[in-house]
């Protein structure tokens, strides 16, 4: 600790407890007296700093001076505290709580990210015609968020498309019905479901339902030649199965009208309609109901047409 000799009373006083006024040093008591007597304001009195005494904790460094921190002498411990500025325990607890909330809530939201990634993969797979892969991705998305009804519907639709592409109409129909129960306004899916239902009815030999469903499908677009031929195919089934001559006449008239009404120059449409018409005529002529695969197994020469 360093000391001064008071310019007024001559006493020896600690430097850190003294002050300077007009170039002279004074002890604390004389300094207080001078403040009361002087005309100047408090800015004329400057507290003296003892560089050997820590300004923050009062630690006496003896003869050695402390390094300055924030413009004041500070012992090593205080300097360390000032520059390191340690965080109080409750602030460290707060930071730990923020980190915990971030980690836990992010973990709780991970299923959304898994579902999102799967959805992003499902779209391109479907566009590339990879129905099974697309359905698997969409199924995974729905499984990640089992409470999401909208996603459940879309997953059912994708699964239906995949099963229909594999020729598993009955299973596909069940998936389409699930989708339609959640999205009753989707007309395209409704049409797909009707088509599948009619395919199932044909497979089951329920030709009256097959005919009714084809009538319903045709009502959606009465000018579509393929829908008209499909209804003629169903009418031919009724002739073949039950001998209903009225349906035979309907089938023959429809086939003739469709083939006559095809736009000239559309070779693709003409080929598709011609192929379908040959199978319907086979059914009318033989009264035998066989599916497309069986027809070409019996008539391999027509497969190349």
């Amino acid at each position: 600790m360093r000391s001064i000799t008071c310019s007024r009373c001559g006493a020896v006083a600690p430097r850190g407890e003294s002050l300077e006024y007009r170039g002279s040093d004074y002890c604390g008591r004389c300094g207080d007296d001078l403040r009361g007597e002087a005309d100047e304001g408090p800015e004329a009195f400057h507290p003296l700093v003892d560089p050997t005494v820590c300004a923050f904790c009062g630690a006496d460094g003896g003869d050695s001076e402390h390094a300055a921190a924030a413009g004041l002498p500070a012992c090593p411990a205080c300097a360390e505290r000032l520059y390191r500025a340690p965080l109080p325990r409750w602030v460290r607890g707060f930071l730990a709580a923020v980190a915990a909330v971030l980690v836990v809530c992010t973990a709780l939201n991970l299923p959304y990210y898994r579902a999102w990634l799967s959805i992003r993969r499902a779209g391109p797979a479907l566009a590339a015609g990879e129905h099974e892969r697309a359905a698997a991705f969409m199924g995974a998305a729905s499984a990640a968020l089992p409470d999401n009804r909208e996603l459940e519907g879309v997953a059912a639709l994708y699964a239906g498309l995949s099963l229909a592409a594999k020729g598993e109409e009955r299973e596909a129909l069940a998936r389409f019905r699930t989708y339609l129960s959640l999205n009753p306004a989707d007309q395209a899916a409704r049409f797909q479901a009707l088509s599948l239902e009619s395919a199932v009815a044909f497979e089951d030999g329920d030709y009256r339902t097959f005919y009714r469903l084809q009538t319903e499908i045709l009502a959606g677009d009465p000018a579509d030649p393929m829908r008209r031929l499909a209804k003629a195919s169903a009418a031919a089934c009724l002739w073949a199965a039950y001998g209903e001559a009225e349906r035979r006449a309907e089938a023959e008239a429809t086939v003739a009208a469709v083939l006559a009404g095809l736009p000239a120059g559309d070779r693709e449409a003409a080929a598709a309609a011609g192929e379908y018409a040959r199978r319907i005529r086979f059914r009318i002529d033989t009264r035998e109901i066989i599916d497309r695969d069986e027809y070409y197994r019996r008539h391999p020469e027509e497969a190349s047409k």
């Binding site: 924030a70 000032l82 965080l87 602030v91 923020v98 809530c105 939201n109 959304y112 996603l151």
Partner: protein, 178 residues
């Protein structure tokens, strides 16, 4: 417009106040500025928190210490709100985890702007730096202006709008761009 006293907002969004002061403190530590006193949060009508630090030796340090909360709070707001964005934006699901993250993130984001006291400190150092021919300090002038404007507009919820922008809109744009 609903006038809500500032101290009530500070209480409701206390994580932002604490992180704001941590932002000042972090840059004090990084730039070796002695810290005399820190109040991370207090129930006070005027000042919810403060960092009292020793003299700063350069304009750059003063700039960083002053705008530290803007950097820290903005980044933390984005980090915390990002995981909440997908359930809300893509799936329309307001689950508890996302709402908790949004409250925390937006609370932190809306305290990003430095105070007018921070702006005054920065301005004082900028003037000294310009006088010492450090012309980079001119860059501080628009920053100080923005801080004052942001503080002025806080009466019309500008700070909350900034939190919404960083915590909700930016993550939505990022997700949309992916």
């Amino acid at each position: 417009m609903i006038p809500i006293p500032g101290f009530i907002i500070s209480i409701l969004t206390f994580p932002g106040v604490i992180v704001h002061e941590l932002g000042h403190l972090l840059f004090c530590r990084l730039r070796k500025v002695p810290v005399l006193e820190v109040k991370f949060f207090q129930f006070d009508m005027k000042t919810a928190g403060y960092v009292l630090h020793g003299p700063v030796d350069s304009f750059g340090t003063s700039f960083l210490v002053s705008v530290g909360p803007f950097i820290v709070n903005t980044l933390l707001c984005l980090l915390i709100c990002m995981p909440a964005s997908l359930p809300l934006r893509y799936f329309g699901d307001r689950n508890l985890a996302s709402m908790a993250l949004l409250w925390l993130g937006v609370s932190i984001g809306m305290h990003a702007f430095p105070s007018t006291q921070d702006a005054a400190n920065l301005m004082e150092h900028a003037k000294k730096a310009v006088a010492a021919r450090n012309f980079r300090a001119y860059l501080a002038y628009p920053v100080v202006g923005l801080i004052y404007v942001a503080n002025l507009l806080s009466v019309v919820w500008f700070d909350a709008l900034y939190g919404y922008f960083i915590g909700i809109l930016v993550p939505s744009w990022v997700l949309g761009a992916l």
